[in-house]
Symmetry: D3
Subunit: 121 residues, 6 copies
């Protein structure tokens, strides 16, 4: 699934889920957004925390989401690979398949950003 | 993978696995069926337990299987979303990608049931 | 740790955590309480869902908490063992050590309830 | 908890659980014993499989049980540390605290075996 | 994804990851290879350990990798199904979907080996 | 177990493990230390990553270790509670028992630091 397909699926299903009007689910979704707002730690640091947590819990979609946000926040590849390395050592070799997909997603995000930059000139 | 494709894959591979004639595996498969029979708790409640356990353990195929069984047992959407909400709060935001796929599967199951109802008139 | 020691530790640390005044944490704690309120599913059923989720995720303190709530809600041993059986089949033999501690806790909760009943005559 | 205390707790609670007469739980316990019988793989190899699975799933009691069985089957320390090393690389640094307790348990088991040998002279 | 597609993806992304020149990641990859070398346990036994660990941790790509290595090491189906049975009993019914994919992969690997044998006559 | 008891147990068992002279285990331990060195991310940020990964993987000893390191690196309580909040939202209510023990450990570490400061006047 491409990053763009993931975004559309995520957006469509989130709306479907919220339309079910289950109060606990709605509050959880609100809380999930709020948790990454600037606080004692700034948003970029919190997104790195979300990324490493997603990596060790081996959740590909969560990794794609946080990688997207990290790129939006301007975090560089060296910082992302340092985050990957902590996740790899903590979580072990079962993290590697998710790391492969994460790096492929990262390369796709960088290519999309370059396309956008070229189109906006 | 559609619900129908999942059913065919599941059926085909279960037969392949059982044909290997490994006694422990065969007994486990028998036990896995028996565990959801009516007992002190009725089958629908046990299927909800199987569903929430599958959700927090983030096993998409298990979720599809138990959702199918829940729909067969006549459980309504409001009950299913309440089950989802418990799974979400217990298991956290890493459950969300599995919840998205669960809700898409649920909508597919409801559409299949409506098709069946219309065809049987 | 006895059930009574767990309750005191839980109460004391929950207050300490909430005193830190972290908004996301406070909202999560509120949501965690609300998720088990009567809804499309009643509270006893939701507590069984919380119990089986805790069992397959192998969280002893969560099991103790939900067992306590199940006993308060009047759920009988046969229903609880049916819940245990689903958790065991879904989660496998690594659940067994947690099942042992769960059953010991259940017996302790039943003994405490009997003491209370005798004292209140 | 010493190895001896673990054995007594395990034995006592297993009997308590089986006395509840829940058919699925009883069948699971029987299956759990049978799965390590000699088959295409011999019992020592299966116990090493049980040990590494317990290690990566980070279940201390399961590790203690399988270590006890491995020692009974005559498996040497070098083989056990090789098993630990696979578990460590697959499961990552979160396995380390369980590895520490495993090695302490192994040393206790070796000391108990030496005491037994000396007493039986 | 076929076994061949997996191999190509794995090879391509491993090279991409190593090209990032992150020292911890490079050392982890080296260690991950070395851990399965002959030692006190021989490579086939270590590969079975890697397989069962991958199964209970429910990592499909890891299972495909270790199954490939087990077939290369000449391990037979009966030994592999015994390994599956230990993984199933330890890890529970949530392992079943991964077992299905493992058995499909195993059949594919056996078919590829037979093709190779026929082509080399 | 107090922080001091944990440190002594950790130190003693780490030495025991390394004395077994298993090459893979020794390399893993070296890598585990190296992964938190200053790099593209500084050590304090990497320790926060290690802390949140330990929290969502629910490893109490790992949490104690990384909390100790975070305190040594001068990270304040507000930053630590922000890290806790991300771990809680990502990992769900099963993280709460580990959060309770983490906060108790943090308070113990702050008290130890104050004792040290008073003693060194």
């Amino acid at each position: 699934m491409s990053v763009q397909e993931f975004r559309e699926f995520r957006e469509r299903l989130n709306q479907r889920i919220l339309s079910a009007d289950n109060l606990s689910i709605k509050r959880f979704f609100a809380l999930d957004t709020q948790a990454y707002n600037d606080g004692a730690l700034d948003t970029p640091t919190k997104e790195l925390l979300g990324l490493v947590a997603s990596l060790v819990l081996r959740c590909d979609d969560c990794i794609t989401y946080h990688l997207t946000r990290c790129v939006e926040e301007g975090i560089g590849d060296a910082q992302l690979f340092d985050t990957f390395s902590v996740g790899l050592v903590v979580g072990g070799s079962i993290v590697i398949p998710h790391l492969r997909r994460a790096v492929e997603t990262l390369d796709e995000l960088r290519a999309l950003a370059q396309d956008d930059a070229e189109n906006s000139r």
